[in-house]
């Protein structure tokens, strides 16, 4: 049985009938690390809130551990762990008090499931008497993860746990998730950072309430149809503008120190370089590259 099954799920908001979640379907296998990858406003949080029974769907259905998110909400609330995007622990309670509170509410104790949180908790334990409201962003994030884990959930829902977090802390966080996965916990995680997609077993790329693609990250990358090039020249902004003007350009955009671009069949590398030179650019460098998830997402957005 799949850990999470979502079927044609719909959420509509406001007078204008905005479809925040528009016929979304996917399923997550037990023990899988599944990523919902998409920008702000894509509908990620609405999906999380429906799956954790905090929001009623306007259409479709979903189950978590086989329980229906509408009828069986009480079972689901007992078994899943949820870390919302906005910090929502008790600011006036200390680290230890928050953790004890959540353990008690779920009828367990810190000792019983300490092995699950140990790796994370040791990093904040020396501050255990500090109030949650006085913690730094990274410490809050670690405490919230501990609180979501302390009752040994079957499925862990993490809504943008790494948003606003620096690259080093983000990497550490994903290392923690990999260890949790080894404990057999199913994890559904959302992120606006495309580079984090490769850490997931499977991902759903989502935009404007609709899923653009669901696959293993490497399959999405391999399915990229065009030959992609990295191009560099002495002046980046002029290069971008020139690539945009070129007749044979399919797609071109900045990507770190290079521009990424794809061209229609007839244009050879030589022709591209020739065109750029004619546009006044110098020191042109160009080579074939393999696309990243971000390249795939950009292409999907442009096609949709």
């Amino acid at each position: 049985m799949d850990a999470v099954v979502v079927q044609d799920l719909i959420k509509i908001y406001g007078k204008d009938d905005v479809r925040a979640v528009d016929n979304v379907s996917f399923s997550v296998k037990p023990g899988e690390l599944f990523g919902l990858i998409g920008p702000d406003g894509a509908g990620k949080t609405s999906i999380f809130r429906m799956l954790t029974t905090l929001l009623l769907p306007d259409g479709g259905s979903a189950t978590v551990d086989g329980y229906d998110i509408v009828k069986d909400y009480k079972y689901i609330r007992n078994t899943v762990g949820y870390m919302p995007g906005r910090f929502s622990l008790y600011q006036d309670l200390t680290i230890e008090e928050n953790l004890t509170f959540f353990a008690t509410v779920f009828g367990t104790s810190i000792e019983e499931n300490y092995h699950l949180i140990k790796d994370i908790y040791v990093q904040i334990e020396r501050f255990k008497d500090r109030r949650a409201g006085k913690l730094s962003g990274g410490m809050k994030q670690k405490l919230a993860l501990c609180c979501a884990l302390i009752h040994k959930p079957t499925v862990l829902f993490l809504d943008e746990p790494t948003t606003g977090v620096d690259p080093v802390s983000r990497k550490e966080f994903w290392e923690m998730l990999k260890r949790l996965k080894q404990e057999g916990i199913t994890i559904v995680v959302s992120t606006p950072y495309m580079d984090e997609a490769t850490m997931c077993d499977r991902i759903a790329l989502i935009q404007s309430g609709k899923i653009l693609s669901i696959e293993r990250p490497e399959v999405i990358v391999n399915a990229y149809a065009d030959q992609l090039y990295a191009v560099k020249a002495d002046h980046m902004y002029s290069l971008l503008k020139a690539l945009n003007r070129f007749d044979h350009t399919i797609n071109s955009y900045a990507y770190g120190e290079y521009a990424h671009a794809s061209f229609r069949g007839p244009a050879t590398e030589h022709e591209v370089v020739e065109f750029l030179t004619s546009q006044g650019l110098a020191n042109i460098e160009m080579h074939r590259i393999a696309p990243t998830i971000e390249d795939c997402f950009i292409k999907l957005l442009k096609n949709s």
């Binding site: 730094s136 080093v168 980046m236 900045a254 442009k302």
Partner: protein
């Protein structure tokens, strides 16, 4: 001669025993895109608040757009623009109301406001949306509007605090087109980001670690100095050594 618009000398901010920003010294030039990087808790926000005239330094010197951070904070505020992901526009005001509101705050006259808001709405192609609530705009348009509002009063420097956090990859790149365009017009752009590919778009970058500026150079110079291929690796090398913060 390079025209210096930000100059700090051993700028320091203490909170009790804690030194949030520790003797930071650097210069930023006119028309430059300056990336201000650092891990969470490294002291970026504290430093930026001092540069914007919002927080008095404990010691050291700084001149922003020609004005002193101790004595001329009101003049600094008039000569800079500010935008962040968290605070930008009012969702329940219309496009036009937002422009008028922020323009007014920045001290534009009614006549200037009328002219500038008309020009801005035309340039962004928002004629149809001028009287619609900002809440109804797609994220990409909101961002463009919010940046344009931050530079409406023709500031010398615009401070952007994580302007692209959580934004989709296409909108993120459109936003950088605006940044390039502003820099081309001579506006200095001071920007923080957690996206390392965006660090590559800056002319120069500083990286803060534990309250100090540990590195400052062009992206190319930093990669050479650390003998690595990407800004990601430069950042890891420096920030991994951090003792405080998260």
């Amino acid at each position: 001669m390079k025209d210096t618009v930000i100059k700090t000398d051993k700028l320091t901010k203490r909170f009790g025993d804690f030194i949030a920003a520790n003797e930071i010294s650097f210069e930023v030039y006119r028309g430059e895109i300056f990336g201000f990087l650092g891990a969470n808790g490294a002291g970026k926000t504290t430093a930026m608040r001092m540069l914007c005239g919002l927080s008095a330094p404990s010691s050291g010197k700084a001149i922003i757009a020609g004005f002193d951070v101790y004595k001329q904070t009101e003049m600094i505020k008039r000569n800079i623009g500010y935008m962040s992901q968290k605070f930008s526009l009012y969702d329940d005001l219309t496009v036009l109301e937002n422009i008028h509101f922020f323009g007014g705050i920045y001290g534009l006259t009614d006549k200037q406001l009328e002219m500038k808001s008309k020009a801005l709405i035309e340039r962004l192609g928002l004629q149809q949306e001028a009287k619609k609530l900002v809440a109804s705009l797609p994220l990409g348009w909101k961002q463009k509007l919010s940046f344009s509002v931050a530079v409406l009063h023709d500031p010398k420097i615009v401070f952007l605090d994580e302007p692209t956090g959580g934004v989709d990859p296409v909108t993120r790149r459109q936003f950088w087109d605006l940044i390039y365009d502003a820099a081309d017009r001579g506006v200095t752009v001071f920007v923080t980001t957690h996206y390392m590919d965006e660090a590559e778009y800056c002319h120069r970058i500083s990286i803060m670690v534990d309250g100090r500026i540990e590195a400052l150079d062009t992206p190319k110079g930093l990669k050479q100095a650390f003998q690595v291929q990407s800004m990601d690796e430069v950042f890891y090398t420096l920030a991994r050594g951090a003792k405080r913060g998260d």
